[in-house]
C-alpha cells in the first residue's frame, strides 16, 4: 500500500455527493429515495462507516425544534440574535420547520432520543432563550444506523478518494469533480449532473496549543477542502471572518461539555469556582467573555461539576467518556482528574471555519444551492449558521432532494480535458521532486502563523504581516513541497487547502471594518459594531483569478427582532454583586 501508481478512470452519475460524514449520507439517501432510478455516488476521503464529526457517535441534538417545546419562530429568532443579526432567516426557518421530520426519520433508523416518564421528548434548556437540546441515549449507533440505510438504498460508495477540485462546463454549470486515491494516488474523474459538497469544517486551520497537528477540535480529516474547492470553482463564500472558536478541555481539545453537564447543574466557572456567564451555549459573544475571564486575574476557566452529588458527577462522566469522544476518560485518567473531585481546566480552541458552530461557509440559499448552478453545499461547510448535527442532516436532506431534481432536468455538462491534466500535474508536483520540504513541516509553519497573526484579537498590522509570511510559505509549498508516497500526497493536498483557507480567513477579516460576533471578529482597529455599514454578509470569491470581497444584503427578516431583543447575547456576563 501507499506506492504511487499511474492511473486515471472516469465514472458518471446523476448526483455526486462529496464527503460521507453526516450531511453527505443523508443527502445521498434522500436523493435516492426521491428518484430510485438516479445513480447516486458518495465519495469519501476516509471510510463512510466511521468518518466525520460523528465517527464514534454523538451525545445529543444541540438544536432540535420540537413541537410543544419550541417553535420555528422562536428558534429563528434565537439564531438570528446569536449570530449578531447576520442571518438569512429563510434557511434557518425552513430548517426549524422540518427538522422534527428528520428526528422522526432517524428514530425509524434506530437512533433513540431521550424521553421522560410520560413518553415526551426530554428537551433541555442550554441556549440563552429557548429549549432545544435533546440527549441521545444510544448516540454511539448513529453512524452504523446511517450506513445500514445507505446499503439498503444501494448508494454507490467510493471510500479513500479525496476530492481535490470541482469541474465546470463552459456555461458555468457544474460538470463533476476530480479525486485522487489516498492509498495509490490514482485519479478518478466523476462526471455528474449535480454535485453536493459536504466535506465538513476547516478544522486544521489554527494549531492546537499542544502543537499536535491532529489534536484538533474537529475531526482532523476535515482540512478545509470543501472551502478551497468551492473557492477555486468560483462559488461565493459567506462571512469567513466569523471564525469558529470553541471553549474546550485544555490540551485534550474536546468539548467540555456544558451542553451535557448544564442540565445536571454543571457550569463554566472561573478559578474561584464562580459562574461568570449566564449561558453556556457557544457564541462569539460568550467566547468574548470567556476570553476576558481567561486573561483577567480570575482565570483560568474551568468546567465545574465538583459541587454535584458524586453519583451525578459520575453519571456525567459516564456519558462524556463513552460516546462522542470516548478517549476523554483516558485523558482524565492520565491526569488523575475526577469530575466529582476537581474542576476541569478549560481553554480556547484554535480557529477554524465551521457553520455548524458559527457561520462561516459556502454561501447557500434555503435549498442548499450555492452560487454555481448544479453545485450544492450542506453541513458544517455551508453558510446556514449554528447548524450542528441536526442541521447537517436536515440541510443535507434538502440538498439531496433538490440536486436529484436538478439532475433530472439537465444533461451532462462537458468539461475541459486539459483542466483535468492540469489538475493531475498540480496534485502530483510534490511527487516529482527528489527532495524538498515535507508536508508536515509546511503545515506546521502555516498553522503556527495562523495562531501568531490571525487569531483574535484581530490587529490590522499583524494581519498584513501574517499575509506576507503566509505568502512565503505558499511559495515553499508550490515549489519545494515533497511527497514520497500516496499517503504523504494526501497530506500535501490537505496543506494546499489549509493555506487557501488561511488566506481567505485573513482577506475576509481585513475586509469587514467593524467588530461583530464577539471574539470571532474582534478587530482592535475597529472595535465597535457598525450596523449602518456592516449589517450585511461579506461574500468572498475568486474573480479573474484574484480573491475579492463584496457586501451582500441580509434578506428581510421573516421573524422580526425587536430593539430590546437584538443584543440579548451580549448580556452574558453575570453582574458583579455590589
Amino acid at each position: 500500500m501507499d506506492e504511487i501508481k499511474d492511473g486515471l478512470s472516469e465514472i458518471e452519475c446523476d448526483v455526486l455527493v462529496i464527503g460521507g460524514g453526516t450531511a453527505g449520507p443523508m443527502a445521498a439517501y434522500k436523493a435516492k429515495m426521491k428518484n430510485p432510478d438516479a445513480k447516486v455516488v458518495l465519495l469519501e476521503k476516509a471510510n463512510v462507516k466511521r468518518s466525520g464529526a460523528i465517527s464514534m457517535g454523538m451525545d445529543g441534538l444541540n438544536n432540535a425544534v420540537i413541537p410543544g417545546h419550541s417553535t420555528p419562530e422562536q428558534y429563528t429568532k434565537e439564531i438570528t440574535i446569536a449570530n449578531d443579526g447576520i442571518c438569512d432567516q429563510a434557511a434557518v426557518y425552513k430548517y426549524a420547520q422540518h427538522c422534527y421530520e428528520i428526528i422522526e426519520e432517524l428514530d425509524k433508523f434506530g437512533i433513540r432520543f431521550q424521553k421522560d416518564e410520560n413518553g415526551d421528548y426530554d428537551v433541555k434548556k442550554v441556549h440563552h432563550i429557548g429549549t432545544y437540546v435533546l440527549p441521545m441515549p444510544n448516540g454511539e449507533t448513529v453512524k452504523k444506523a446511517l450506513y445500514r440505510q445507505l446499503r439498503r438504498a444501494r448508494i454507490l460508495i467510493s471510500n479513500r478518494f479525496m476530492a481535490t477540485r470541482l469541474l465546470k462546463g463552459r456555461s458555468g454549470r457544474i460538470a463533476g469533480a476530480v479525486a485522487v486515491n489516498t492509498r495509490t494516488a490514482e485519479f478518478l474523474v466523476v462526471r455528474a449532473k449535480s454535485v453536493i459538497m459536504s466535506m465538513g469544517a476547516a478544522g486544521r486551520l489554527g494549531l492546537p496549543t499542544s502543537g499536535y497537528l491532529y489534536g484538533t477540535y474537529e475531526n482532523a480529516a476535515n482540512s478545509g477542502e470543501g472551502y478551497a474547492m468551492a473557492y477555486h470553482a468560483g462559488a461565493k463564500l459567506a462571512n469567513l471572518e466569523c471564525f469558529q472558536i470553541n471553549p474546550l478541555i485544555k490540551d485534550y481539545n474536546g468539548p467540555s461539555c456544558a451542553y451535557v453537564a448544564g442540565p445536571f447543574g454543571g457550569f463554566t466557572a472561573n478559578s474561584r469556582g464562580e459562574r461568570f456567564i449566564e449561558c453556556d451555549y457557544w457564541s462569539g459573544q460568550m467566547m468574548q467573555e470567556f476570553y476576558n475571564e481567561l486573561l483577567s486575574g480570575n482565570g483560568p476557566v474551568f468546567l465545574k461539576l465538583n459541587h454535584l452529588h458524586k453519583e451525578t458527577a459520575d453519571h456525567i462522566e459516564q456519558i462524556l467518556h463513552t460516546v462522542e469522544r470516548p478517549s476523554r476518560g483516558r485523558f482524565h485518567e492520565g491526569r488523575g482528574t475526577r469530575y466529582h473531585e476537581t474542576m476541569i481546566e478549560m481553554h480556547i480552541s484554535e480557529i477554524g471555519f465551521c457553520s455548524g458552530h458559527s457561520a462561516s461557509g459556502v454561501f447557500v440559499d434555503d435549498c442548499a444551492r450555492t452560487t454555481v448552478p448544479g453545485l450544492y453545499a450542506a453541513g458544517d461547510m455551508a453558510s446556514v449558521p449554528h447548524n450542528y448535527m441536526l442541521g447537517a442532516f436536515t440541510n443535507g436532506a434538502f440538498a439531496g432532494e433538490d440536486a436529484v431534481a436538478f439532475a433530472g432536468e439537465v444533461d451532462f455538462e462537458d468539461y475541459d480535458r486539459e483542466e483535468v491534466a492540469r489538475e493531475q500535474e498540480r496534485v502530483l508536483a510534490p511527487t516529482r521532486r527528489e527532495d524538498g520540504i515535507p508536508p508536515n513541516q509546511i503545515e506546521y509553519k502555516a498553522r503556527r502563523l495562523v495562531n501568531d497573526y490571525l487569531q483574535p484579537p484581530k490587529v490590522t498590522r499583524k494581519y498584513e504581516l501574517g499575509q506576507a509570511r503566509l505568502a512565503e510559505v505558499r511559495d515553499d509549498m508550490e515549489n519545494h513541497m515533497v511527497a514520497r508516497d500516496a499517503h504523504e500526497l494526501m497530506r500535501a493536498m490537505e496543506v494546499t487547502s489549509i493555506l487557501d483557507c488561511a488566506d481567505m480567513a485573513a482577506f475576509a477579516s481585513l475586509y469587514r471594518e467593524e467588530s461583530r460576533w464577539g471574539l470571532y471578529h474582534w478587530r482592535t482597529d475597529h472595535p465597535e459594531r457598525n450596523d449602518e455599514e456592516w449589517k450585511c454578509h461579506v461574500l468572498l470569491s475568486k474573480q479573474d483569478g484574484r480573491m475579492t470581497c463584496e457586501k451582500h444584503p441580509v434578506q428581510p427578516y421573516i421573524v422580526p427582532i425587536s430593539e430590546e431583543e437584538k443584543d440579548a447575547y451580549y448580556k452574558q456576563r453575570i453582574k458583579a454583586e455590589a
Binding site: S210, A221, R325, S327, R330, H487
Partner: protein, 77 residues
C-alpha cells in the same frame, strides 16, 4: 534539502498476540478516519505507521479481538 528521520512515539498500540491480521483481518486499517494504520509486511500484524491520530477510537471499538489500545498522544496527554 535532505530529509532526516526524526523519531516519534505513537499513541496506538496493537497486541500482536491478539491481532489476527495474518488471517486476513484489516478492520482497524479500514475504519481509521486519518488512515494511519497499516498491516506490517514483516510481522503480518497491524501497527500505527503514521503519527497523525485524532484519538477517536474506531480502531479500538471495531477490532474483533480487542487487540487495539488507543492512548492519548504524548504532546497533549
Amino acid at each position: 534539502m535532505p530529509l532526516a528521520n526524526t523519531s516519534t512515539t505513537v499513541p496506538v498500540l496493537v497486541d500482536e498476540g491478539k491481532c489476527i491480521a495474518d488471517k486476513g483481518c484489516t478492520v482497524c486499517v479500514d475504519v481509521c478516519p486519518l488512515d494511519v494504520l497499516r498491516i506490517s509486511e514483516l510481522t503480518n500484524k497491524a501497527y500505527m505507521k503514521f503519527d497523525e491520530c485524532w484519538y477517536c477510537m474506531p480502531c479500538e471499538a471495531d477490532c474483533p479481538t480487542g487487540a487495539v489500545t488507543v492512548n492519548i498522544p504524548y504532546l497533549l496527554k
